[in-house]
Amino acid sequence: MALAFDEFGRPFIILREQDQKTRLRGIDAQKANIAAGKAVARILRSSLGPKGMDKMLQGPDGDVTISNDGATILEQMDVDNQIAKLMVDLSRSQDYEIGDGTTGVVVMAGALLEQAERQLDRGIHPIRIAEGYEMASRVAVEHLERIAQKFEFDVNSYEPLVQTCMTTLSSKIVNRCKRSLAEIAVKAVLAVADLERRDVNLDLIKVEGKVGGKLEDTELIYGILVDKDMSHPQMPKHIEDAHIAILTCPFEPPKPKTKHKVDIDTVEKFETLRKQEQQYFDEMVQKCKDVGATLVICQWGFDDEANHLLMHRNLPAVRWVGGVELELIAIATGGRIVPRFQELTPEKLGKAGMVREKSFGTTKERMLYIEHCANSKAVTIFIRGGYGLGNKMMIEETKRSIHDALCVARNLIRNNSIVYGGGAAEITCSLAVDAAADKYPGVEQYAIRAFAEALDSVPMALAENSGLQPIETLSAVKSQQIKENIPFYGIDCNDVGTNDMREQNVFETLIGKQQQILLATQVVKMILKIDDVISNSEY
């Protein structure tokens, strides 16, 4: 920052290390910020839609992520610019709230910024642009509400849910199995959903992945999958009608938490100590047997002696099960977590219809299935894939895609309104906003029109990514919508031959779309409002 001089030619320093700071102000600051925001949007633009491309990102430790999910890409990019960080936050908050549409929201914000830049060049005050955008976003959100359609579903007829999830999955790498994955996601959500309160706790859905096998082998397990095996290879691999003792205490003599020492000065004492230890083991196993447990799941380990004893007494056991899984097992089997052996009672045992160990491929990897549980409100989605390459990337991307699909299903349970995808919603909003613009006096009118134009950029990007002529396609669809006054026409990305998104079954959730518009507007307003950037020059 340049030094200021007074009338007598003496410099005066106002800020600490003033000469090392840079300052951008006025229109320059806005231009620079807009450029940064646009740059981020440009990166994601090509990922939009069913024909969107993936990004490969290499982390600092050499780990590679391949993803199509906007939030993931931005998170991994590790951007440094402050405005770019705002865009990352934007995508992330869409992810938190909706879980889907993370790419779309950034593309939209980018388009809004681009339009704002044009308006700035015309000499419109940035705040008035922002205000115009805000008015326009309200118009758009209301319009969406009007055109949204509700569909009814219940536990048995969930076809519309599946269709909507498929729309989400179609842009992902896993789209060849989208039908089966969508069904899995919907069934999983329905299994844990509280339809009366319209609440879904996604924590109850566990997503596990294991490299190997095919994507088609991905399955939904009504129960829990634990990446553990029986503590002893000779223990039974199948337990039907299992009564499960869930323990947080180790199979070993209890230890006081206070520091302690046992003085042993005679052989007899040593003998008693040993005997007592053995007796402990014996009692513990006996206690489990007494209450009727047929399987022991233990948070901690136990040594070989205990292991042997358990095998001998024909009591299968699993050791080193993590706290989170333990909790899930307890919820699923209706059991209680027991902190010490004395408190074991038959009522505290969890019940499962079938517990089995399953091995995969030729490797020695085994997993434990706990199925037909007393309480089915905990499910696991078990993802396979990776084409046998030992490649985790595919599994990770599938997990993310499933997460998106789960979120969509959850949102639909919360609010069963949908709008049409494929850019149809954006196009009809654009028309509505454009029409509304004329009603506003004042400079904001221009900003509102700019907003309408920015909305067009989403279908435009869709068309572009699908290898269509963007401008021609968009104008064709637009005129079709106006002519027939039907808001269902969108971009035919998959070249099915119709623009009618109802026929193509391309749906998106209403709240997701509304959120996109509101969030993008909010962030753009924030960026436009900055007219002064003071930073240390190394930035």
């Binding site: 003496r10 402050q82 989170v324």
Partner: protein
Amino acid sequence: MASMMQPQIILLKEGTDTSQGKAQLLSNINAVTAVGDVVRTTLGPRGMDKLIHDDKGSVTISNDGATIMKLLDIVHPAAKILVDIAKSQDSEVRKSSWILDLFSVDDFVGDGTTTVVLLAAEFLKEAKPFVEDGVHSQNLIRSYRTASTLAIEKVKELAVSIEGKSVEEKKGLLAKCAATTLSSKLIGGEKEFFATMVVDAVMAIGDDDRLNLIGIKKVPGGNMRDSFLVDGVAFKKTFSYAGFEQQPKKFDNPKILLLNIELELKSEKENAEIRLSDPSQYQSIVDAEWNIIYDKLDKCVESGAKVVLSRLAIGDLATQYFADRDIFCAGRVAEQDLNRVAAATGGTVQTSVLGTCEIFEEKQVGGERFNIFSGCPSGRTATIVLRGGADQFIEEAERSLHDAIMIVRRAVKNSTVVPGGGAIDVIPRQLCDNAGFDATDVLNKLRQKHAMQSGEGASYGVDINTGGIADSFANFVWEPAVVKINAINAATEAACLILSVDETVKNPKSESAQGDAAAGAMGRGRGGGRGRGMRRR
């Protein structure tokens, strides 16, 4: 004592920078004006934000005068005074900033920081030609004081009392004040929404002075319309152990137990050691330890509490124990939150007094789960859960709400309001500039209105929407009178203070923090020590 033959007396340490006289005075004025220029554009509903990187690389985007001034890290001694007045206007800083005793300490307002800085800078700018012409600065100071008294009287005259109105009416009026403050902020688009929320929150805590009873929780994600007010307490789900999910998550009229102990199986004394000679005693020690914790847990259950909160950890054993008995527990609750719960539910930490509330529930808010206590009997707390698209966004929203809360509290206490939208020359001018209007034109119109004999034009201000002038009062652009008075007062005092300084002695850098040293020298060393310059009220 000084004879002609003696060499020059060295009074100050080597390297000390002194400058004095009229030149110094002008230089100080220039510095202040420069600072004023920085915050100038943030004024009013069309004001802009600043993005500031600090030394550590963290970034703030703000529209709040006090925040910006604080972050600017100003070292110029005269300019620093401006920072201090900005702070004094913002109640956040009640620290013993030396300048505080200049202004009556009660009058912290929390809003109008930009106005103060701008006014002070403008006063000084106006003074500059007079100083150059050789008017003695003490004369200027005296006239400024007189002028400010006049201005304050005028404000008082204009003020309209909201005392004696019905609660509903009052709420509406307060919301107007809050909306005026918020209109210049990032969340201006939703000002009505937030204004009502702020008024409800302030009304909820009533006359209580403890501002920390209004909690503001930030949850990234969602849009700002998803923000909501809880008439009670809300806090984020704390770290939980296995078994937590088996606890019930919703209660009607639960009893709430507040603790400050650890509920965990652990050694009672850190450095105790037990020596056993007989291995068979072993079990008894183990049992004794378990009994201690079970004893504690039993007492919690016996109390009849359905919700157990502790400031310290609640371990996995306790979690599962409570789960078995259908009790909800949360450990490691932040102290502030716990105090708020205590105030809201009427309970006391660590006694037999249990609190209660109508509904307790664990709810999903964005990506987080929140514990929400609502419908509390004593109703002396409120929590605002803020949502927004980006971290920066929520931070700024929080600062804005802070301002609005302060304003509403002022209005509640002093219950007089004045029309906003510009009362003194520089303010409307800047408002116009920021809104992109022809400042001179609007100002002349305003002048004409205000000069009208009948006095009915006195409440006219700038109309940001159309670019003309409008009756601010009718348009509900209101500010509490005390804010305006304080702003005029503070700005005048700052201007007078700077005008009264004619010499700066700056010690070489070695001392502690350079900035503090400079400010200290300004304040105490000069004013107090040598007995000239500064006048304390």
